[in-house]
């Protein structure tokens, strides 16, 4: 089973040179740490910045410079600042190449639920609905099962959904899976030491297994 850092590390392999990328809160934020240094990519913060840099040193903290998770950040050379309407114009207009975000559930047709649990305090969807409705390529970082062992990869989402037919790929602690355009999770890679049988047992939706499934690598 992968740690959160390993999930982030595996997702970083999906990043291509020249991409503009939006990273969600949580594991997706960690992906930034593992993007190969020889790739030129630009990270978007949907509150109005292209070009997120590392967290600041204590003496460089600026309350007027935060990311969408409200953390203090820095800017890399060549950054651009803009307002929220412009930021979502970029997202809605398909200019962001890759969106990486977390999920509570994903269905076998690519629906995602990640904003609301009935009966619990609802904090809001933030920018998630705009992102999943518009991004060309959406990768989900998530645990394969809930804490009580229920699969989070399902035939249909049981929770209120955030967007329909949008998830392209999932990297969980157990596997890398692609969502088939015809429906179903296509198993692409296993986490080191995790068997196809275990993944099958822990996947609620239709799992598609074609040929030998390799263990994932991180280089």
């Amino acid at each position: 089973m992968l740690t959160k850092e390993q999930i982030a590390k595996r997702i970083a392999k999906e990043v291509k040179n020249g991409q503009y990328i939006n990273l969600g809160i949580g594991i997706p934020t960690l992906v930034a740490n593992y993007i190969p240094k020889d790739l030129d990519v630009v990270l978007q913060s949907e509150n109005g910045l292209l070009g997120i840099g590392p967290f600041p040193t204590a003496d460089k903290v600026d309350p007027d410079l935060i990311n969408a998770g409200k953390q203090t950040i820095t800017m890399v050379p060549g950054s651009a600042l803009f307002n929220s309407a412009e930021s979502f114009a970029m997202i809605r207009g398909g200019h962001v190449h890759l969106t990486i975000l977390g999920a509570m559930e994903v269905s076998e047709n690519g629906d995602i639920a990640n904003w609301k649990i009935p009966g619990k305090m609802v904090k809001g969807m933030g920018g998630a609905m705009d992102l999943v409705a518009s991004a060309k390529n959406i990768i989900v970082a998530m645990q394969h099962c809930s804490k009580d062992g229920q699969s989070k990869l399902l035939p249909e989402c049981s929770l209120p959904i955030t967007g329909i037919r949008c998830v392209k790929k999932i990297v969980s602690d157990l596997a890398v899976l692609e969502v088939s355009p015809e429906g179903g999770f296509i198993l692409k890679e296993r986490a080191p030491g995790v068997s196809v049988e275990e993944i099958q047992a822990k996947t609620g939706g239709k799992l598609i297994i074609e040929g030998e499934i390799p263990e994932m690598t991180f280089e």
Partner: protein
Amino acid sequence: MINKTVKNAMEAVADIPGNCMLMMGGFGLSGIPENCIQALLAKNISGLTIVSNNAGVDDFGIGLLLKKRMVKKMISSYVGENAEFERQLLSGELEVDLIPQGTLAERVRAGGAGIPAFFTPAGVGTEVAEGKEIREFEGKLYLMERWLRADFSIVKAWKGDTSGNLIFKGTARNFNPMMAAAGKICIAEVEELVQPGELDPNQIHTPGIYVQRIFQGENYEKRIEQRTVTQ
């Protein structure tokens, strides 16, 4: 140039009545109109509907207005980072209308730009789409969203001139420019107020036409929610 200067926050918000619709700029606690929030707190009004991306924290920002029970309804994309908010919501004292962040930004932009409705893909197939018109364009589904306008909008800028031209700083810009345009009366508080001609016309983020009142604020705390540093 038209001079829109008022003396201070108290004068700026003096005629804001209860039960009105108010927009307030900011993302989290960044770029919020701290001075006007304090001035509103000193007024005896309630029943406000506030359009703001977030709702502050317990002891800062819009959280202060919530604590004093001045707010009837929040129109936001992400809220509930304070306990009082949650208590009022669960007890039914407070209404909340949750809107996808990009839709919120665009609805406010549409309000200022005279566009009563537009189509967006955000929320198609979700409960956000309930009761809304769905239409297909070039093979993709979109839902129709309406503009948002307010009786007053309150924004916070970095620099401004007396004719209302504004320049924001960093990510404190966020919702402020759209809200400036979508308020019937826009109040701008700025860290530094200068004379017309001191700001480069090519660097203005919000042209003065949108701003009706402006003053130089004071004692900005600029509280940080998530101080995150590297070694």
